[in-house]
Amino acid sequence: MTDTAPAATRAVAALPSGVRTPWSEFWRKFRRQPVAVLALAFVVVLVALAILAPWIAPYDAENFFDYDRLNEGPSLAHWLGVDPLGRDILSRILVGGRISLATGFLSVAIGGLVGTVLGLLAGYYEGWWDRIVMRLSDVLFAFPGILLALGVVAILGSSLVNVVVAVSVFSVPAFARLVRGNTLVLKRATYVEAARSIGASDRTILLRHILPGTVSSIVVYVTMRLGTSIITAASLSFLGMGAQPPTPEWGAMLNDARADMVSSPHVAIFPSLAIFLTVLAFNLLGDGLRDALDPKLDRA
């Protein structure tokens, strides 16, 4: 195929318009992906809803019982219907979103922070410390997250806090590997060498020169990881090992809904949709961020 024309057009399209900073460059590429922009907007709305949930939820998620409408489908009074105990499903999903997002963010933040520090130190100093960290993350990495999480819950007992601990633990090795890889490359970069030659301390080099260089891949990974973490946390609650009733956690709500699936499927459908859309938004946003931050894609 004679395929030289697009290359020329691309070169023209890539001509600078004004000053190009890494940030404007990122934004330019991100903006071109309507799906990712939509996903970002959706995530912003989700976070806002989660923060405002206690004030905007039409009913009390745990203690309001509408005994006249048990198991009723969507109506004007209850937009998403009522569950078998008479609780408003919309309110429970809103408050549940607060829980799911909080467990997701918290566990990825903790796992990401610990993993990043371990990865930075392992990649920078190498030697025995590197070998220990990498061997341990190999072992942890080899396990499926849910199995590791079950182990943690088996030791610590079933609760939401333990779910956060469990999900954090299985995020650590992935971040440690990612950051270690980047650090190994960056510490041989000329600008890091330059910093070292003017006498910058290890601490300065790590925090001011290497860490910023690896931030973009960390951000992409955090976003991708959020979806997985939310699913894992919901799975644990679904298995009865996370949030305990009557807490309106999405996975726990689905577990409750199993008994009445036949007579009232709406009790299960709406929490399922909530998890699906939330995780989908994070995954699409992660894809978009990756495409916008990956320098390799500009050449392709």
Partner: protein, 306 residues
């Protein structure tokens, strides 16, 4: 090749040792007294001490560890607290259903994943690609338990075509394996597409086209083989995911496998069973990783290590 294999095998020993120690320590990390746990809630102090001596929990830790390894070597995994049966027997009868479920899921996940991935790469940025990738991103975003409940609601309850729970006939395998395989199929599709897109841009593909080969031959003979190398690795790694996923899917479909046994054991604090299962799952993982490594070396001789 043999040295490569032996090297990989030796490399597993430290990992195995760490896993064994962790699994052994597991019981000692449990909150509360394992002897009391084994003796039961209502047992008096004397009974608890008897059980402690019987289980060897009164000995020093290193001695206990030695005995643990020795027992493992003889295939003795202890006795289930819940059923009072040997753990090995409990696991034995649950092993096959989980293995079959995992294999079925893998088979169709690979089939769907490869086809969707290749079609998407060939029709890059056209509607088959968009449809395929939309399906794939939905697949990784839909939690297995929700998908399982949805499928059960439609095909078992609504249409009445398939059984709901249990593992009696081949019909029982359809919904659980679809549920379990969905996420893997999605990951495979995304991965295959990426790998294919990269290979389609290589010089040798251009050469093949320049020779005047038909697009079908270029894709089937030249691109496919090269694009599959990373896909095979991914397939191996996804086996691990299936093992983890089976825990959730077995709970949804009440599948008589290892996953449900693990959940039941965690709920009832049946620690000898948990201990054995965690060890078994880890072993499976380590073995899978070894097989992937070796396969990788077989397919791609350039990385048959220095």
């Amino acid at each position: 090749m043999l040295t490569f294999f032996l090297k990989r095998l030796l490399g597993l020993l430290p990992t195995l040792a760490i896993v064994a120690v962790l699994v052994f320590l597991f019981v000692h990390m449990l909150p509360g007294d394992p002897a009391r746990l084994a003796a039961g809630q209502d047992a008096d102090q004397q009974t608890v001490e008897l059980v402690r001596a019987e289980l060897g929990l009164d000995r020093p830790l290193p001695v206990q560890f030695g005995r643990y390894v020795l027992n493992l070597g003889q295939g003795d995994l202890g006795t289930s607290i819940r059923t009072r049966r040997p753990v090995a027997a409990e696991i034995g009868e649950r092993f096959l259903p989980t293995l079959l479920l995992t294999l079925t899921s893998m088979a169709w996940a690979v089939a769907f994943g490869l086809v969707i991935g290749i079609v998407s790469a060939v029709y890059r940025n056209e509607w088959p690609d968009r449809l395929g990738m939309t399906l794939a991103v939905s697949g990784i975003s839909f939690p297995a338990f929700a998908l399982g409940m949805l499928l059960m609601q439609i095909f078992s309850v609504g249409l009445g075509w398939l059984p709901t729970v249990g593992a009696g006939s081949w019909k029982h395998y359809i919904l659980p394996s679809l549920t379990l395989g969905a996420a893997v199929a999605a990951v495979m599709a995304r991965f295959t597409r990426a790998s294919f897109v990269e290979v389609l841009g290589e010089d040798f593909v251009r050469t093949a086209r320049a020779k005047g080969l038909t697009e079908r031959v270029v894709i089937a003979k030249h691109a496919l083989r090269n694009a599959l190398i990373p896909v095979v690795t991914m397939m191996g790694l996804q086996f691990g995911f299936l093992l983890g996923g089976s825990i959730v899917v077995e709970a949804v479909f009440n599948w008589p496998g290892l996953g449900r046994l693990l959940v039941d054991s965690v709920n009832q604090r049946d620690y000898p069973v948990i201990q054995a299962l965690v060890l078994l799952f880890s072993l499976e993982f380590i073995l899978i990783n070894l097989v992937v490594d070796v396969l990788y070396g077989l397919i791609n001789p350039t990385i048959r290590y220095k």
